[in-house]
Protein backbone atom coordinates (compact mmCIF):
# COMPACT_ATOMS: atom_id res chain seq x y z
CA UNK A 1 0.00 0.00 0.00
CA UNK A 2 3.11 2.24 -0.07
CA UNK A 3 2.33 3.74 -3.46
CA UNK A 4 -1.30 3.50 -4.48
CA UNK A 5 -2.27 4.40 -8.04
CA UNK A 6 -3.54 7.97 -7.65
CA UNK A 7 -1.36 8.89 -4.71
CA UNK A 8 -0.18 12.53 -4.73
CA UNK A 9 2.29 11.86 -1.96
CA UNK A 10 3.72 8.57 -0.78
CA UNK A 11 6.41 7.80 1.76
CA UNK A 12 8.56 4.72 1.30
CA UNK A 13 10.13 3.13 4.39
CA UNK A 14 11.25 6.47 5.82
CA UNK A 15 13.65 6.35 8.74
CA UNK A 16 15.06 9.39 10.47
CA UNK A 17 17.33 9.65 13.49
CA UNK A 18 19.13 12.43 15.31
CA UNK A 19 22.55 11.43 16.65
CA UNK A 20 21.48 7.80 16.85
CA UNK A 21 18.12 8.56 18.45
CA UNK A 22 15.37 7.27 16.17
CA UNK A 23 12.67 9.84 15.53
CA UNK A 24 11.00 7.86 12.73
CA UNK A 25 11.49 4.19 11.96
CA UNK A 26 10.46 2.66 8.63
CA UNK A 27 7.24 4.54 7.98
CA UNK A 28 5.34 4.14 4.72
CA UNK A 29 1.96 5.53 3.71
CA UNK A 30 0.29 7.24 0.82
CA UNK A 31 -1.92 10.32 0.53
CA UNK A 32 -4.46 10.36 -2.32
CA UNK A 33 -4.92 13.55 -4.29
CA UNK A 34 -7.76 15.64 -2.87
CA UNK A 35 -8.04 13.95 0.51
CA UNK A 36 -7.50 15.28 4.01
CA UNK A 37 -5.05 13.04 5.84
CA UNK A 38 -4.50 13.40 9.58
CA UNK A 39 -1.36 12.35 11.43
CA UNK A 40 -2.14 11.62 15.04
CA UNK A 41 -0.18 10.21 17.92
CA UNK A 42 1.11 11.08 21.38
CA UNK A 43 3.65 13.85 21.80
CA UNK A 44 7.07 12.79 20.59
CA UNK A 45 5.55 10.22 18.25
CA UNK A 46 7.46 11.83 15.36
CA UNK A 47 4.59 13.65 13.68
CA UNK A 48 6.35 16.97 13.21
CA UNK A 49 9.55 15.22 12.16
CA UNK A 50 7.56 13.43 9.47
CA UNK A 51 6.16 16.74 8.22
CA UNK A 52 9.67 18.14 8.19
CA UNK A 53 10.82 15.18 6.13
CA UNK A 54 8.02 15.73 3.61
CA UNK A 55 8.98 19.34 2.90
CA UNK A 56 12.68 18.73 3.14
CA UNK A 57 13.58 20.42 6.41
CA UNK A 58 15.09 17.09 7.48
CA UNK A 59 16.70 14.47 5.24
CA UNK A 60 15.73 10.91 6.14
CA UNK A 61 18.61 8.46 6.55
CA UNK A 62 16.69 5.76 4.71
CA UNK A 63 13.63 5.59 2.48
CA UNK A 64 12.32 7.93 -0.18
CA UNK A 65 9.42 10.30 -0.70
CA UNK A 66 7.36 10.40 -3.89
CA UNK A 67 5.53 13.62 -4.70
CA UNK A 68 3.23 13.46 -7.74
CA UNK A 69 5.28 10.92 -9.63
CA UNK A 70 8.78 12.13 -8.85
CA UNK A 71 10.77 10.28 -6.21
CA UNK A 72 13.33 12.21 -4.24
CA UNK A 73 15.69 11.38 -1.41
CA UNK A 74 17.35 14.79 -1.08
CA UNK A 75 14.93 17.70 -0.80
CA UNK A 76 15.06 21.13 0.79
CA UNK A 77 12.25 23.45 1.83
CA UNK A 78 12.98 25.82 -1.04
CA UNK A 79 12.52 23.16 -3.71
CA UNK A 80 9.57 21.70 -1.83
CA UNK A 81 7.86 25.07 -2.10
CA UNK A 82 8.63 25.30 -5.80
CA UNK A 83 7.25 21.82 -6.44
CA UNK A 84 3.95 22.78 -4.82
CA UNK A 85 4.22 21.94 -1.11
CA UNK A 86 3.15 24.63 1.36
CA UNK A 87 3.02 24.34 5.12
CA UNK A 88 2.24 26.03 8.40
CA UNK A 89 4.14 25.64 11.65
CA UNK A 90 3.22 24.46 15.13
CA UNK A 91 4.46 27.69 16.66
CA UNK A 92 3.41 30.38 14.24
CA UNK A 93 6.10 31.37 11.73
CA UNK A 94 4.69 34.60 10.31
CA UNK A 95 6.55 37.77 9.37
CA UNK A 96 5.54 39.62 12.49
CA UNK A 97 6.33 43.16 11.44
CA UNK A 98 4.51 42.96 8.10
CA UNK A 99 0.81 43.52 7.46
CA UNK A 100 -1.58 40.62 6.88
CA UNK A 101 -1.85 41.55 3.21
CA UNK A 102 1.94 41.60 2.82
CA UNK A 103 2.25 38.23 4.53
CA UNK A 104 -0.30 36.73 2.18
CA UNK A 105 1.39 38.38 -0.80
CA UNK A 106 4.72 36.81 0.13
CA UNK A 107 2.89 33.53 -0.36
CA UNK A 108 2.45 34.58 -4.01
CA UNK A 109 6.17 35.08 -4.58
CA UNK A 110 6.44 31.82 -6.54
CA UNK A 111 3.92 33.14 -9.05
CA UNK A 112 5.55 36.51 -9.75
CA UNK A 113 6.41 36.89 -13.40
CA UNK A 114 7.93 40.38 -13.32
CA UNK A 115 11.40 41.24 -12.04
CA UNK A 116 12.05 43.62 -9.16
CA UNK A 117 13.39 46.18 -11.62
CA UNK A 118 10.19 46.11 -13.66
CA UNK A 119 8.20 46.46 -10.46
CA UNK A 120 10.27 49.37 -9.20
CA UNK A 121 10.08 51.28 -12.47
CA UNK A 122 6.50 50.00 -12.97
CA UNK A 123 7.14 48.96 -16.56
CA UNK A 124 6.54 45.83 -18.63
CA UNK A 125 4.69 42.99 -16.95
CA UNK A 126 4.79 44.66 -13.56
CA UNK A 127 1.34 46.25 -13.54
CA UNK A 128 -0.62 43.25 -14.84
CA UNK A 129 1.43 40.95 -12.60
CA UNK A 130 0.62 43.09 -9.56
CA UNK A 131 -3.13 43.01 -10.24
CA UNK A 132 -3.10 39.23 -10.70
CA UNK A 133 -1.15 38.53 -7.51
CA UNK A 134 -3.07 41.09 -5.49
CA UNK A 135 -6.46 39.80 -6.56
CA UNK A 136 -5.54 36.21 -5.79
CA UNK A 137 -4.26 37.27 -2.39
CA UNK A 138 -7.57 39.08 -1.88
CA UNK A 139 -9.49 35.95 -2.82
CA UNK A 140 -7.67 34.06 -0.09
CA UNK A 141 -8.18 36.90 2.39
CA UNK A 142 -11.88 36.86 1.53
CA UNK A 143 -12.10 33.09 1.87
CA UNK A 144 -10.58 33.18 5.34
CA UNK A 145 -12.56 36.28 6.42
CA UNK A 146 -9.45 38.35 7.04
CA UNK A 147 -10.72 41.50 5.31
CA UNK A 148 -10.89 43.56 8.44
CA UNK A 149 -7.27 42.77 9.30
CA UNK A 150 -5.94 43.39 5.78
CA UNK A 151 -3.63 46.26 6.84
CA UNK A 152 -2.99 45.22 10.44
CA UNK A 153 0.52 44.28 11.52
CA UNK A 154 0.51 40.54 12.08
CA UNK A 155 2.40 40.71 15.37
CA UNK A 156 -0.47 42.63 16.96
CA UNK A 157 -3.19 40.11 16.05
CA UNK A 158 -4.75 37.59 18.44
CA UNK A 159 -3.34 34.07 18.33
CA UNK A 160 -6.29 32.46 16.55
CA UNK A 161 -6.23 35.04 13.76
CA UNK A 162 -2.49 34.62 13.32
CA UNK A 163 -3.04 30.89 12.79
CA UNK A 164 -5.53 31.84 10.08
CA UNK A 165 -3.14 34.28 8.45
CA UNK A 166 -0.50 31.56 8.28
CA UNK A 167 -3.02 29.29 6.58
CA UNK A 168 -3.84 32.13 4.19
CA UNK A 169 -0.18 32.64 3.33
CA UNK A 170 0.18 28.94 2.59
CA UNK A 171 -3.00 28.88 0.46
CA UNK A 172 -1.91 31.94 -1.50
CA UNK A 173 0.91 29.87 -2.97
CA UNK A 174 -1.72 27.69 -4.74
CA UNK A 175 -0.02 24.55 -3.40
CA UNK A 176 -0.85 21.00 -4.48
CA UNK A 177 -0.12 19.71 -1.01
CA UNK A 178 -0.70 21.59 2.23
CA UNK A 179 1.02 20.51 5.44
CA UNK A 180 -0.60 21.83 8.62
CA UNK A 181 1.30 21.34 11.88
CA UNK A 182 -1.36 21.52 14.62
CA UNK A 183 -3.48 24.24 12.97
CA UNK A 184 -5.85 24.21 15.94
CA UNK A 185 -3.32 24.01 18.77
CA UNK A 186 -4.31 26.08 21.77
CA UNK A 187 -7.82 26.90 20.54
CA UNK A 188 -11.11 26.43 22.35
CA UNK A 189 -13.87 24.25 20.94
CA UNK A 190 -15.56 27.04 18.93
CA UNK A 191 -12.31 28.33 17.46
CA UNK A 192 -11.39 24.76 16.50
CA UNK A 193 -14.76 24.37 14.82
CA UNK A 194 -14.24 27.57 12.88
CA UNK A 195 -10.68 26.64 11.88
CA UNK A 196 -11.81 23.17 10.80
CA UNK A 197 -14.32 24.95 8.56
CA UNK A 198 -11.52 26.90 6.91
CA UNK A 199 -9.36 23.81 6.42
CA UNK A 200 -12.37 22.13 4.82
CA UNK A 201 -12.86 25.14 2.51
CA UNK A 202 -9.19 24.95 1.56
CA UNK A 203 -9.67 21.33 0.66
CA UNK A 204 -12.99 21.63 -1.20
CA UNK A 205 -12.95 25.12 -2.70
CA UNK A 206 -9.23 25.44 -3.44
CA UNK A 207 -8.81 21.74 -4.21
CA UNK A 208 -5.75 21.34 -2.00
CA UNK A 209 -4.63 17.99 -0.63
CA UNK A 210 -4.11 18.37 3.11
CA UNK A 211 -1.88 16.52 5.56
CA UNK A 212 -2.43 17.78 9.08
CA UNK A 213 -1.33 17.03 12.62
CA UNK A 214 -3.99 17.39 15.27
CA UNK A 215 -4.50 16.15 18.81
CA UNK A 216 -8.25 16.62 19.16
CA UNK A 217 -9.68 13.23 18.12
CA UNK A 218 -13.15 14.71 17.64
CA UNK A 219 -11.91 17.27 15.14
CA UNK A 220 -9.72 14.74 13.35
CA UNK A 221 -12.49 12.17 12.94
CA UNK A 222 -14.89 14.81 11.68
CA UNK A 223 -12.45 16.45 9.32
CA UNK A 224 -10.28 13.82 7.68
CA UNK A 225 -10.86 11.11 5.10
CA UNK A 226 -7.77 9.21 6.18
CA UNK A 227 -5.94 8.90 9.48
CA UNK A 228 -2.38 7.70 10.14
CA UNK A 229 -1.50 6.92 13.75
CA UNK A 230 2.10 7.12 14.93
CA UNK A 231 3.57 5.96 18.20
CA UNK A 232 7.24 6.21 19.14
CA UNK A 233 8.14 6.88 15.52
CA UNK A 234 6.35 3.83 14.20
CA UNK A 235 3.10 3.61 12.25
CA UNK A 236 0.55 1.63 14.23
CA UNK A 237 -2.56 2.29 12.15
CA UNK A 238 -3.57 3.73 8.80
CA UNK A 239 -7.04 3.97 7.30
CA UNK A 240 -10.45 5.59 7.40
CA UNK A 241 -11.33 7.33 10.68
CA UNK A 242 -13.86 4.65 11.60
CA UNK A 243 -11.43 1.73 11.23
CA UNK A 244 -8.67 3.56 13.03
CA UNK A 245 -10.94 4.44 15.90
CA UNK A 246 -11.86 0.79 16.40
CA UNK A 247 -8.24 -0.38 16.06
CA UNK A 248 -7.19 -1.95 19.40
CA UNK A 249 -3.53 -0.88 19.10
CA UNK A 250 -4.63 2.70 18.70
CA UNK A 251 -6.93 2.49 21.68
CA UNK A 252 -4.08 1.06 23.71
CA UNK A 253 -1.17 3.15 22.56
CA UNK A 254 -2.85 6.43 21.76
CA UNK A 255 -6.26 7.03 23.23
CA UNK A 256 -5.11 5.31 26.38
CA UNK A 257 -2.29 7.74 26.93
CA UNK A 258 -4.22 10.82 25.87
CA UNK A 259 -4.90 13.33 28.61
Amino acid sequence: MTTSSNALLSLDHISLSFKGVNAITDISFAVRAGEICALIGPNGAGKSSLLNVINGVYQPQRGSVHFDGHAYRRMNPYHAAHSGIARTFQNIALFRRMSVLDNVLTGRNLHRRSTWLEQTLNVGRARSDETVQRSYAEVVIDALDLQRYRHTTVGTLPYGVQKRVELARALAAEPRLLLLDEPMAGMNADEKHVMAGYVLDANTQFGVTVVLIEHDIGVVMGLSDHVVVLDYGKKIADGAPAEVRSNPDVLAAYLGTRH
Binding site: D145, R148, Q205
Partner: protein, 381 residues
Protein backbone atom coordinates in the same frame (compact mmCIF):
# COMPACT_ATOMS: atom_id res chain seq x y z
CA UNK B 1 -42.21 51.82 -22.13
CA UNK B 2 -42.82 55.59 -22.10
CA UNK B 3 -45.43 55.40 -19.38
CA UNK B 4 -45.37 58.69 -17.37
CA UNK B 5 -45.52 57.25 -13.86
CA UNK B 6 -43.89 53.83 -13.46
CA UNK B 7 -45.94 51.49 -11.32
CA UNK B 8 -43.67 48.50 -10.68
CA UNK B 9 -40.09 48.24 -9.45
CA UNK B 10 -38.86 47.01 -12.86
CA UNK B 11 -40.55 50.01 -14.47
CA UNK B 12 -38.81 52.31 -12.02
CA UNK B 13 -35.49 50.62 -12.80
CA UNK B 14 -36.02 51.20 -16.52
CA UNK B 15 -37.06 54.73 -15.74
CA UNK B 16 -33.79 55.46 -13.94
CA UNK B 17 -31.80 53.67 -16.67
CA UNK B 18 -33.33 56.07 -19.20
CA UNK B 19 -32.98 59.25 -17.16
CA UNK B 20 -29.50 58.77 -15.72
CA UNK B 21 -27.97 55.80 -17.58
CA UNK B 22 -24.39 56.62 -16.63
CA UNK B 23 -24.89 57.73 -13.06
CA UNK B 24 -23.60 55.21 -10.49
CA UNK B 25 -26.49 53.13 -9.19
CA UNK B 26 -24.81 50.44 -7.14
CA UNK B 27 -21.49 50.14 -5.40
CA UNK B 28 -20.05 47.16 -3.59
CA UNK B 29 -16.68 46.52 -2.05
CA UNK B 30 -15.22 43.25 -3.24
CA UNK B 31 -11.71 41.93 -2.72
CA UNK B 32 -10.59 45.18 -1.19
CA UNK B 33 -11.75 47.50 -3.98
CA UNK B 34 -14.98 49.39 -4.54
CA UNK B 35 -16.77 48.36 -7.71
CA UNK B 36 -19.50 50.44 -9.32
CA UNK B 37 -22.43 49.72 -11.63
CA UNK B 38 -24.24 52.45 -13.53
CA UNK B 39 -28.04 52.50 -13.82
CA UNK B 40 -27.72 51.34 -17.39
CA UNK B 41 -25.53 48.42 -16.36
CA UNK B 42 -27.90 47.48 -13.55
CA UNK B 43 -30.88 47.55 -15.90
CA UNK B 44 -29.20 45.41 -18.55
CA UNK B 45 -27.84 43.01 -15.94
CA UNK B 46 -31.30 42.57 -14.42
CA UNK B 47 -32.89 42.20 -17.83
CA UNK B 48 -30.43 39.50 -18.86
CA UNK B 49 -30.76 37.69 -15.54
CA UNK B 50 -34.53 37.81 -15.99
CA UNK B 51 -34.16 36.32 -19.44
CA UNK B 52 -31.92 33.63 -17.97
CA UNK B 53 -34.43 32.83 -15.23
CA UNK B 54 -37.30 32.74 -17.68
CA UNK B 55 -35.41 30.37 -19.93
CA UNK B 56 -34.86 28.09 -16.95
CA UNK B 57 -38.61 28.05 -16.36
CA UNK B 58 -39.08 30.83 -13.83
CA UNK B 59 -42.52 32.29 -14.59
CA UNK B 60 -44.90 34.87 -13.10
CA UNK B 61 -45.99 33.96 -9.59
CA UNK B 62 -42.91 31.85 -8.93
CA UNK B 63 -40.85 32.42 -5.80
CA UNK B 64 -37.08 32.96 -5.65
CA UNK B 65 -35.55 32.38 -2.24
CA UNK B 66 -32.38 34.11 -1.07
CA UNK B 67 -30.16 32.64 1.63
CA UNK B 68 -27.64 35.45 1.66
CA UNK B 69 -26.22 38.51 3.35
CA UNK B 70 -26.85 41.77 1.53
CA UNK B 71 -24.84 41.57 -1.68
CA UNK B 72 -25.31 43.04 -5.09
CA UNK B 73 -25.89 39.71 -6.89
CA UNK B 74 -28.82 39.00 -4.59
CA UNK B 75 -30.28 42.43 -5.26
CA UNK B 76 -29.93 42.15 -9.02
CA UNK B 77 -31.38 38.67 -8.99
CA UNK B 78 -34.37 39.65 -6.88
CA UNK B 79 -35.12 42.46 -9.32
CA UNK B 80 -34.84 39.92 -12.13
CA UNK B 81 -37.32 37.68 -10.38
CA UNK B 82 -39.74 40.59 -10.04
CA UNK B 83 -39.08 41.48 -13.67
CA UNK B 84 -40.62 38.11 -14.51
CA UNK B 85 -43.58 38.76 -12.23
CA UNK B 86 -42.14 36.57 -9.50
CA UNK B 87 -41.60 37.26 -5.83
CA UNK B 88 -38.24 37.55 -4.09
CA UNK B 89 -38.05 36.04 -0.60
CA UNK B 90 -34.87 36.95 1.27
CA UNK B 91 -33.95 34.81 4.26
CA UNK B 92 -31.57 35.45 7.11
CA UNK B 93 -28.56 33.21 6.28
CA UNK B 94 -28.29 32.33 9.97
CA UNK B 95 -31.74 30.79 9.79
CA UNK B 96 -31.82 27.43 11.58
CA UNK B 97 -32.10 24.25 9.50
CA UNK B 98 -35.54 23.60 11.00
CA UNK B 99 -36.87 26.97 9.95
CA UNK B 100 -35.22 26.55 6.55
CA UNK B 101 -36.96 23.24 6.01
CA UNK B 102 -40.28 24.76 7.02
CA UNK B 103 -39.78 27.65 4.61
CA UNK B 104 -38.77 25.38 1.74
CA UNK B 105 -41.71 23.05 2.18
CA UNK B 106 -44.29 25.83 2.51
CA UNK B 107 -43.06 28.30 -0.09
CA UNK B 108 -41.88 25.76 -2.70
CA UNK B 109 -39.47 28.21 -4.41
CA UNK B 110 -38.51 27.64 -8.03
CA UNK B 111 -34.92 28.62 -7.27
CA UNK B 112 -32.83 29.30 -4.18
CA UNK B 113 -29.93 31.73 -4.28
CA UNK B 114 -27.05 30.78 -1.93
CA UNK B 115 -24.24 33.14 -1.00
CA UNK B 116 -21.49 30.56 -0.51
CA UNK B 117 -20.63 26.86 -0.64
CA UNK B 118 -21.68 26.29 2.94
CA UNK B 119 -25.19 27.48 2.16
CA UNK B 120 -25.19 25.56 -1.15
CA UNK B 121 -24.33 22.30 0.59
CA UNK B 122 -26.87 23.05 3.30
CA UNK B 123 -29.57 23.55 0.63
CA UNK B 124 -28.56 20.50 -1.39
CA UNK B 125 -29.47 18.47 1.69
CA UNK B 126 -33.09 19.18 0.73
CA UNK B 127 -33.91 17.15 -2.39
CA UNK B 128 -35.56 18.63 -5.48
CA UNK B 129 -34.16 22.14 -5.03
CA UNK B 130 -32.52 24.18 -7.80
CA UNK B 131 -29.78 26.30 -6.33
CA UNK B 132 -28.12 29.41 -7.76
CA UNK B 133 -24.55 29.67 -6.48
CA UNK B 134 -23.25 33.23 -6.00
CA UNK B 135 -19.72 31.81 -6.19
CA UNK B 136 -18.31 35.13 -4.96
CA UNK B 137 -14.67 34.07 -5.37
CA UNK B 138 -15.17 33.00 -8.98
CA UNK B 139 -13.93 29.49 -8.22
CA UNK B 140 -14.65 26.47 -10.40
CA UNK B 141 -18.46 26.01 -10.55
CA UNK B 142 -20.10 23.65 -8.06
CA UNK B 143 -20.22 20.12 -9.54
CA UNK B 144 -23.78 19.25 -8.41
CA UNK B 145 -26.27 19.13 -11.35
CA UNK B 146 -28.93 21.03 -9.41
CA UNK B 147 -26.58 24.01 -8.97
CA UNK B 148 -26.43 26.87 -11.48
CA UNK B 149 -23.53 29.29 -11.30
CA UNK B 150 -24.72 32.89 -10.97
CA UNK B 151 -22.30 33.93 -13.71
CA UNK B 152 -23.79 31.52 -16.23
CA UNK B 153 -27.33 32.65 -15.49
CA UNK B 154 -27.51 35.83 -17.54
CA UNK B 155 -28.15 35.55 -21.26
CA UNK B 156 -27.67 38.53 -23.61
CA UNK B 157 -31.05 39.28 -25.13
CA UNK B 158 -31.28 41.36 -28.28
CA UNK B 159 -34.07 43.92 -28.40
CA UNK B 160 -34.70 43.92 -24.69
CA UNK B 161 -36.69 41.47 -22.60
CA UNK B 162 -39.95 43.00 -21.49
CA UNK B 163 -41.05 42.94 -17.86
CA UNK B 164 -44.34 41.20 -17.10
CA UNK B 165 -44.60 42.47 -13.54
CA UNK B 166 -48.02 43.89 -12.52
CA UNK B 167 -48.48 46.59 -9.83
CA UNK B 168 -50.35 44.23 -7.57
CA UNK B 169 -47.96 41.31 -7.85
CA UNK B 170 -45.98 40.63 -4.74
CA UNK B 171 -42.48 42.01 -5.17
CA UNK B 172 -40.98 40.90 -1.88
CA UNK B 173 -42.10 38.46 0.78
CA UNK B 174 -40.47 38.02 4.17
CA UNK B 175 -40.68 35.19 6.64
CA UNK B 176 -39.62 35.01 10.27
CA UNK B 177 -40.34 33.18 13.47
CA UNK B 178 -42.76 35.05 15.68
CA UNK B 179 -42.81 35.21 19.48
CA UNK B 180 -44.03 31.63 19.95
CA UNK B 181 -41.54 30.44 17.33
CA UNK B 182 -43.96 30.01 14.46
CA UNK B 183 -43.39 30.81 10.85
CA UNK B 184 -45.08 34.03 9.74
CA UNK B 185 -44.88 35.81 6.40
CA UNK B 186 -45.32 39.37 5.17
CA UNK B 187 -45.95 40.19 1.51
CA UNK B 188 -45.27 43.54 -0.16
CA UNK B 189 -46.69 44.32 -3.59
CA UNK B 190 -45.01 46.61 -6.12
CA UNK B 191 -47.79 49.15 -5.54
CA UNK B 192 -47.39 49.31 -1.76
CA UNK B 193 -43.64 49.55 -1.99
CA UNK B 194 -43.80 52.34 -4.58
CA UNK B 195 -46.35 54.24 -2.53
CA UNK B 196 -44.42 53.95 0.75
CA UNK B 197 -41.20 54.83 -1.02
CA UNK B 198 -42.86 57.97 -2.41
CA UNK B 199 -43.69 59.04 1.11
CA UNK B 200 -40.17 58.39 2.42
CA UNK B 201 -38.50 60.17 -0.49
CA UNK B 202 -40.85 63.10 0.06
CA UNK B 203 -40.40 63.53 3.78
CA UNK B 204 -36.67 62.76 3.89
CA UNK B 205 -36.02 64.80 0.72
CA UNK B 206 -34.03 62.02 -0.89
CA UNK B 207 -32.49 62.83 -4.28
CA UNK B 208 -30.35 61.30 -6.97
CA UNK B 209 -27.11 62.39 -5.34
CA UNK B 210 -27.67 60.69 -2.01
CA UNK B 211 -25.41 57.90 -0.79
CA UNK B 212 -27.22 55.05 0.93
CA UNK B 213 -25.51 52.36 2.95
CA UNK B 214 -27.16 48.94 2.90
CA UNK B 215 -25.62 47.28 5.88
CA UNK B 216 -28.92 45.84 7.19
CA UNK B 217 -29.84 42.21 6.87
CA UNK B 218 -31.26 41.55 3.45
CA UNK B 219 -33.92 39.51 5.14
CA UNK B 220 -35.55 42.47 6.91
CA UNK B 221 -38.69 43.75 5.32
CA UNK B 222 -37.65 47.32 5.97
CA UNK B 223 -34.70 46.83 3.66
CA UNK B 224 -37.07 46.55 0.73
CA UNK B 225 -39.28 49.37 1.91
CA UNK B 226 -36.82 51.95 3.14
CA UNK B 227 -33.85 51.20 0.92
CA UNK B 228 -34.52 49.26 -2.27
CA UNK B 229 -37.82 50.80 -3.33
CA UNK B 230 -36.70 54.38 -2.54
CA UNK B 231 -33.46 53.64 -4.36
CA UNK B 232 -35.34 52.73 -7.52
CA UNK B 233 -37.69 55.66 -7.15
CA UNK B 234 -35.26 58.46 -6.39
CA UNK B 235 -32.21 57.06 -8.14
CA UNK B 236 -29.65 57.56 -5.37
CA UNK B 237 -26.55 55.36 -4.99
CA UNK B 238 -26.86 52.14 -3.01
CA UNK B 239 -23.67 50.86 -1.35
CA UNK B 240 -22.92 47.41 0.01
CA UNK B 241 -20.13 46.88 2.55
CA UNK B 242 -17.44 44.27 1.99
CA UNK B 243 -18.46 42.16 4.97
CA UNK B 244 -20.24 42.46 8.28
CA UNK B 245 -16.84 42.63 9.97
CA UNK B 246 -15.69 45.60 7.91
CA UNK B 247 -18.96 47.54 7.70
CA UNK B 248 -17.91 50.27 10.13
CA UNK B 249 -14.75 50.91 8.16
CA UNK B 250 -16.66 50.86 4.87
CA UNK B 251 -19.23 53.27 6.24
CA UNK B 252 -16.43 55.59 7.23
CA UNK B 253 -14.94 55.42 3.75
CA UNK B 254 -18.32 56.17 2.19
CA UNK B 255 -19.74 58.67 4.65
CA UNK B 256 -23.29 57.87 3.50
CA UNK B 257 -25.99 60.55 3.49
CA UNK B 258 -28.78 58.04 4.06
CA UNK B 259 -28.53 55.47 6.82
CA UNK B 260 -31.42 53.13 7.54
CA UNK B 261 -31.07 50.87 10.54
CA UNK B 262 -32.80 49.41 13.54
CA UNK B 263 -32.18 50.58 17.09
CA UNK B 264 -29.56 47.86 17.35
CA UNK B 265 -27.68 49.29 14.38
CA UNK B 266 -27.28 52.60 16.17
CA UNK B 267 -26.74 50.94 19.55
CA UNK B 268 -23.83 49.04 18.00
CA UNK B 269 -22.24 52.26 16.73
CA UNK B 270 -22.72 53.84 20.14
CA UNK B 271 -21.11 50.78 21.72
CA UNK B 272 -18.20 51.05 19.30
CA UNK B 273 -17.69 54.68 20.26
CA UNK B 274 -17.91 53.81 23.93
CA UNK B 275 -15.36 51.01 23.57
CA UNK B 276 -12.85 53.16 21.75
CA UNK B 277 -13.12 56.32 23.81
CA UNK B 278 -10.28 56.74 26.33
CA UNK B 279 -10.80 55.93 30.01
CA UNK B 280 -13.68 57.12 32.17
CA UNK B 281 -11.89 60.14 33.64
CA UNK B 282 -10.27 61.30 30.38
CA UNK B 283 -11.36 64.79 29.33
CA UNK B 284 -12.46 63.60 25.92
CA UNK B 285 -15.03 61.29 27.45
CA UNK B 286 -16.04 63.93 29.99
CA UNK B 287 -16.71 66.46 27.25
CA UNK B 288 -18.77 63.95 25.26
CA UNK B 289 -20.79 63.05 28.36
CA UNK B 290 -21.38 66.71 29.17
CA UNK B 291 -22.49 67.29 25.60
CA UNK B 292 -24.85 64.32 25.90
CA UNK B 293 -26.32 65.77 29.03
CA UNK B 294 -26.52 69.19 27.31
CA UNK B 295 -24.36 70.71 30.08
CA UNK B 296 -21.67 73.37 29.87
CA UNK B 297 -21.60 76.98 28.75
CA UNK B 298 -21.75 78.09 25.11
CA UNK B 299 -17.97 78.28 24.82
CA UNK B 300 -17.51 74.76 26.08
CA UNK B 301 -20.20 73.57 23.67
CA UNK B 302 -18.49 75.20 20.71
CA UNK B 303 -15.14 73.71 21.67
CA UNK B 304 -16.67 70.29 22.20
CA UNK B 305 -18.35 70.52 18.82
CA UNK B 306 -15.22 71.46 16.90
CA UNK B 307 -12.71 69.31 18.73
CA UNK B 308 -14.73 66.24 19.70
CA UNK B 309 -18.17 65.82 18.17
CA UNK B 310 -17.37 66.88 14.63
CA UNK B 311 -14.26 64.67 14.24
CA UNK B 312 -16.19 61.87 15.88
CA UNK B 313 -18.89 62.15 13.22
CA UNK B 314 -16.18 61.72 10.61
CA UNK B 315 -14.71 58.66 12.31
CA UNK B 316 -18.01 56.80 12.60
CA UNK B 317 -19.04 57.81 9.08
CA UNK B 318 -21.97 60.05 9.92
CA UNK B 319 -20.36 63.30 8.79
CA UNK B 320 -22.58 63.71 5.72
CA UNK B 321 -25.69 61.92 6.95
CA UNK B 322 -28.82 64.04 6.52
CA UNK B 323 -31.29 61.19 6.63
CA UNK B 324 -30.72 58.83 9.55
CA UNK B 325 -33.66 56.47 9.90
CA UNK B 326 -34.36 54.09 12.71
CA UNK B 327 -36.90 51.50 11.64
CA UNK B 328 -39.28 50.07 14.23
CA UNK B 329 -38.68 50.72 17.93
CA UNK B 330 -36.89 54.07 18.66
CA UNK B 331 -33.34 54.47 20.03
CA UNK B 332 -32.58 53.69 23.66
CA UNK B 333 -31.69 56.63 25.93
CA UNK B 334 -27.90 56.60 25.82
CA UNK B 335 -27.70 55.99 22.07
CA UNK B 336 -30.20 58.76 21.42
CA UNK B 337 -28.18 61.08 23.67
CA UNK B 338 -24.98 60.30 21.80
CA UNK B 339 -26.42 60.96 18.37
CA UNK B 340 -28.07 64.10 19.67
CA UNK B 341 -24.67 65.24 20.94
CA UNK B 342 -23.28 64.51 17.48
CA UNK B 343 -26.14 66.54 16.01
CA UNK B 344 -27.30 63.58 13.97
CA UNK B 345 -31.11 63.70 13.98
CA UNK B 346 -32.25 60.08 13.93
CA UNK B 347 -35.90 59.90 12.81
CA UNK B 348 -38.05 56.86 13.58
CA UNK B 349 -40.03 55.12 10.84
CA UNK B 350 -42.62 52.45 11.55
CA UNK B 351 -41.98 48.81 10.80
CA UNK B 352 -45.60 48.20 9.88
CA UNK B 353 -47.16 45.51 7.74
CA UNK B 354 -49.05 42.56 9.15
CA UNK B 355 -47.42 39.19 9.53
CA UNK B 356 -49.62 36.25 8.60
CA UNK B 357 -48.97 32.82 10.02
CA UNK B 358 -48.05 30.20 7.51
CA UNK B 359 -48.20 27.06 9.57
CA UNK B 360 -47.43 25.75 13.05
CA UNK B 361 -44.11 24.04 13.64
CA UNK B 362 -41.74 23.51 16.56
CA UNK B 363 -38.34 25.13 16.30
CA UNK B 364 -34.89 23.93 17.27
CA UNK B 365 -32.67 26.68 18.70
CA UNK B 366 -30.84 28.50 15.93
CA UNK B 367 -27.16 27.58 15.46
CA UNK B 368 -24.61 29.64 13.68
CA UNK B 369 -21.83 28.50 11.37
CA UNK B 370 -18.54 30.36 11.07
CA UNK B 371 -18.51 33.84 9.62
CA UNK B 372 -16.16 36.78 9.98
CA UNK B 373 -14.89 37.07 13.53
CA UNK B 374 -17.63 37.98 15.89
CA UNK B 375 -19.77 38.93 12.95
CA UNK B 376 -21.76 35.74 13.50
CA UNK B 377 -22.26 36.76 17.09
CA UNK B 378 -23.29 40.30 16.18
CA UNK B 379 -26.88 40.54 14.97
CA UNK B 380 -26.98 40.80 11.19
CA UNK B 381 -28.29 44.36 11.07
Amino acid sequence: MANPQPSTLPDWLRHQAQHRPHAVALRHKRLGAWHALSWHEVATAVEQLAAGLAQRGFAAGDALLFVSHPREEALLLSLAAQWNGGVAIPLDPHLSDEALRAVLTHLAPRFVFAEDDTQVDRLLAHEGLRVIDANPRNLTPHPHPAVTDYRTLAIPHEGGFASVAQPHDDAFAFVRLDADRQLVAQRLSHATLAQEAQRLVGTEKLGADDEAFAARAFAAASQARYLIAPWLLSGFRLNFPESLATRDNDRRELAPTLVAGTRETYARVAQLVDDRLPGARSWRRRLINRAQRRQGGPLLRVLTWWFISRPLREVIGFSRTHAALVIGPPLDGTTAALFAALRVDVRAWPDTGEWRRIEHRREAPAHQRHAADGAAEQPAY
